[in-house]
Structures are given as C-alpha cells and as structure tokens.
Symmetry: C2
Subunit: 257 residues, 2 copies
DNA sequence: TGAATTGTTTGGTAATTCCGAACCAACTAA
DNA sequence: TTAGTTGGTTCGGAATTACCAAACAATTCA
C-alpha cells in the first residue's frame, strides 16, 4: 500500500526520494555515510537511490560527495520563465531598483508560502537575508500580506491554520484577528508595509498585481528603516510602485503574443 | 528488484518519478489524461505519483493541470549559489557585457554537457537561443571546446562516445579527430571561437577559468557574426576576457572567506 | 600489517507499487 | 431530462520490488 490514509494515496518511495533530495540540499552535499547518519535508512538503500539520481543526472559526485546537480536550475528556470508575471516583471524591477537605489522584489504565492521570484538591486542596496527562489511565510512580508489581502477568506484561514503565524521580530503580527484587521486596511489602501516585521531595522512597502478575481503576486521595495522612512515610502516609492503594478496589470491583460 | 543489470542497482520507482518530472516539464504542465497518453503507465499509477509530488510541494495544480512548482527554483538557485565560480562570476559578466555591449556567458560542465550558469546582457545584446539553466553539447560552443580542451583525454573520449557530435549548422565540427586537433590548437592559444557552429550568423569567443589540474568552467562573449568580427574579437574582446578569467582564477584561489 | 572507515554488491522477504476496473463529477448534445 | 463523454478519484489484490542485513572491496590511518 502507501503512505497516508484514505484519499490521495501516495507513493512511499517517492516520499523517501524527496526526503533524500531535501536532506542533500540542507547538508549542501553529503557522503553516503553522512546521509546514513542523517536519515533512517540502510546504507544500501540510500546507495541505490543515489545511484538512480546520479544516473538521471539529478545528482553529481565529487569523489565521495554527492551533490544536487544543476538539473534543478534547469527545471527551476523553466518554471520561472513560463510564468508571464516573471517575464514582464524583470525589467520593471530593474527600473524600480534604479529609481530608488534600493532592492526591488517580485513575490508570488505557492502552497501557502511566499516565493521570491525575482529581485533587482539598486545602487545603495545592501545584501539581504532573502534570495531568488527562497521561501518565507506570507504574514510578515509587505508582499505576503498583500497577497493574503486579495485571497479568498477561506484560503487565508487555511493558510493560517497550516503554517501558523510565527514571530520573527517583536513587530511580527502573531494574532489572527489582528492580521485580518490589517488585511482589511490593506484592501482599503491598496498598499502594504513591512515595518521591521521580518528583520529588525528593515522596512518595505509593496503593492499587489491584481487580475480579475485573482492576485498574481506583489512587488515591493525594501531597505534600511532609517533610510526608507514612512514619509519617503509614501511620497517617493508609493507612486513608483503603483505605476509599476499598473504597467504589469496591463501587460498581463494584453500579453504581447 | 531494480532497473539495470549488474553494478549500480537503481530504484525503479525513482526512475518512474523522474520520468514524470521530465515529462511534466517538456509538456509545460499537463493534465492527468495528457500524461497518461504520453507515458506508459496506468492512470491510477500516475495519479498517486502526482499526489505525492503535490503533497511534497514539488508540483502545483491549476484546476486539472499539474505543473512543476518553484521548489525546483529553490533547489536550483541553491545549487547555483553554492558554486563559488557562479558567485564571483556574476559581477565579472556584468562588466564584460557593459564594456562590449554584447552578451556574456558563464558555462560549466556537468554530466558531459555544457550548462549555462549565468549570463549578462549588454546594450546591443539580442535575445538568443540559450538561457540560464539550459544545457547544450560541449563540442559546438566556444566555452564547451575550452572545457574539453582542459579535460583529461580519456574524459573527452568518454563524452564523445556518450553524447556524439551532432551537427547543428554546416560549421559544426562533427569529426572526432578534427575536434581533437582543434582542442590542441585551443590549448596553445588559450582562447576559443564559436564560428557559426551553434547557430548560423552567431559568433562567440571564450576563455577558460583554470585551476591547478582542473578547469572550473569558461566564459564567453557572443553576438552577431557581422558585428562581432574576428578582428574585433582578437583586438577588443580577447584582452577583456583574459583580464576577466585572470581575476576569476585569483578569486577562486584565494576565496574571501 | 592490521584496524578502521567508507563505498559497493547481493540474496531473500516483507512490503508496496502498479494495474484494472469501478466510481464520481462536470459538461455536452439530443 | 437523459444518455454519452471526458476527466479525475478510489480501491482490491497479484506481481514486483524496495529494503535490510551482511559480506565484500578499496582506502586510509595507526
């Protein structure tokens, strides 16, 4: 039989495999012995899995070290490029970054989480915690809250249930009702802030990219809170963001091809 | 038992799974019915595999369409960023692109193929066939031939055996001996050309990034053959490339951390 | 030289994948 | 409304195989 009960029967071997892949990534490559220590499988079992992965070019070997291969980059870039928002968003982010000097982000939702789809660095941009392809909870990001704000209420409840509202800084919203109140405000304003809710000293302002009945994603500009003041956000950044999202929404509505 | 005979026993279910993933990519998302047509498995079999992939967040559903998720981007960017050459190469490519106005590429070898690790677009750059994460044969690229030139002879034979020398244009080298002669020349010159060997009308010039006893990868500048003449390559681009690879080799030898 | 460590191979069985076929749910056409 | 179609979902059970244990090979270190 399979893992799990009742509906949605799963394939146990596949669970095993994906567990191996995830572990291989979190260890940043590992020898067979290290993997054996980390996972609850016999050495020989892991060995045949690794051989299969290598044969299919999903893993490369450096001596006795097994590492994930660039096959993942191939698939990943393919997925990224098949997203229309990603394609039209790239140049828009570059403009935003150039005009503000800060970091501009493009975020979409997947499986109830925020995924950093793209970024552009301005002149004064500082290296941040996040990177393209990375994931984060939705509730502590300007873009994440925007996405939640335009998602159906049931879906929001589901996401809160599933992922919780963990506290990252003293400013993170951890109460569901407080979050829902903020989402209401965001819907009224059409923009959202991240006021040191993710990292202390980091502020961001974002705007959503909306379609008819859907939210495609959101973009934001982030930077040090003392440089990116609330006034500067509202006066300088907000108009730029709204111009950008407006352009994106038009391009998504009337794709060039 | 398992797939394959003798040594390196493989896990058949894993082969199946990776086959599904590859198919899902080449179809750019598919319904269960479409996958059933494409692959030799029962509908119910594919269904449980897809359910497992979705449960592990490697696949997303849009209605009845199954698509690869951005999880692949996460792993892919992680692999890319754990490569030191990729990290130091990015800014160098940007400079090259800015100085030449053309497209600058960073290529590494994996499983006997060329992988486009990064690119930077100059002012006059035209959209090309290739994209980051993509793969190509080594024998028809300037960077690919460079990598072959500095790989052990046995390895070169192995790669020729395994992947062949398919013809992409009338200029592609398809004869093993001719290729080996060119590799010898490349070792003498320290640079390599791609003279319409990949796409008609496209020229590129590249230089290798060498370590002690190894070749890390290669970088190149490519553009329309009529603009990127052989003279311009030798006089303008070649010094820039050598300066760039020199910088990269130093940075790889003495990493900042 | 022997002990320790790590990757590789293999036999056999307990476990699971896989198929077939039935079951739904949503549309379409008559 | 009803019959027909298309596509996703579920489930029992036989055939296949993933998995473990244990032996083996190849290095490395004492």
């Amino acid at each position: 039989m399979t893992t799990g009960d009742g509906p949605n029967r799963r394939v146990k071997t596949t669970d095993t495999l994906l567990e191996i892949i995830d572990t291989l990534q979190s260890l940043d490559g590992a020898t067979l012995a290290e993997l054996t220590d980390e996972l609850e499988y016999a050495k020989s079992t892991l060995h045949s899995h690794l051989s299969t992965l290598e044969h299919n070019e999903y893993v490369v070997r450096n001596g006795d070290e097994y590492e994930l291969s660039l096959k993942f980059l191939e698939h990943g870039m393919f997925v990224k490029n098949s997203d229309e928002l990603s394609r039209v968003g790239g140049p828009v982010l570059e403009d935003l970054a150039a005009e503000t000097g800060e970091v501009a982000w493009l975020i979409v939702e997947e499986h109830g989480k925020a995924v950093y789809l793209d970024k552009a660095m301005g002149e004064k941009a500082v290296q941040t915690h996040a990177s393209v392809g990375g994931r984060a909870r939705l509730h502590h990001l300007a873009t994440g809250k925007l996405i939640l704000a335009y998602l159906p209420d049931e879906r929001v409840d589901e996401i809160i249930d599933c992922h919780g509202l963990p506290e990252l800084t003293p400013h993170t919203i951890t109460d569901p009702d407080e979050l829902r109140a903020e989402l209401e405000e965001i819907r009224e304003d059409g923009i959202a802030f991240n006021d040191k809710e993710t990292v202390d000293g980091l502020r961001a302002i974002g705007a959503p990219v909306l379609g008819e009945e859907t939210v495609y994603g959101a973009i934001s500009v982030s930077g040090p809170a003392n440089r990116l003041t609330v006034e500067r956000c509202l006066e300088e950044i907000k108009p730029l963001l709204l111009e950008a999202t407006n352009e994106l929404e038009l391009k998504l509505q009337y794709p060039p091809n």
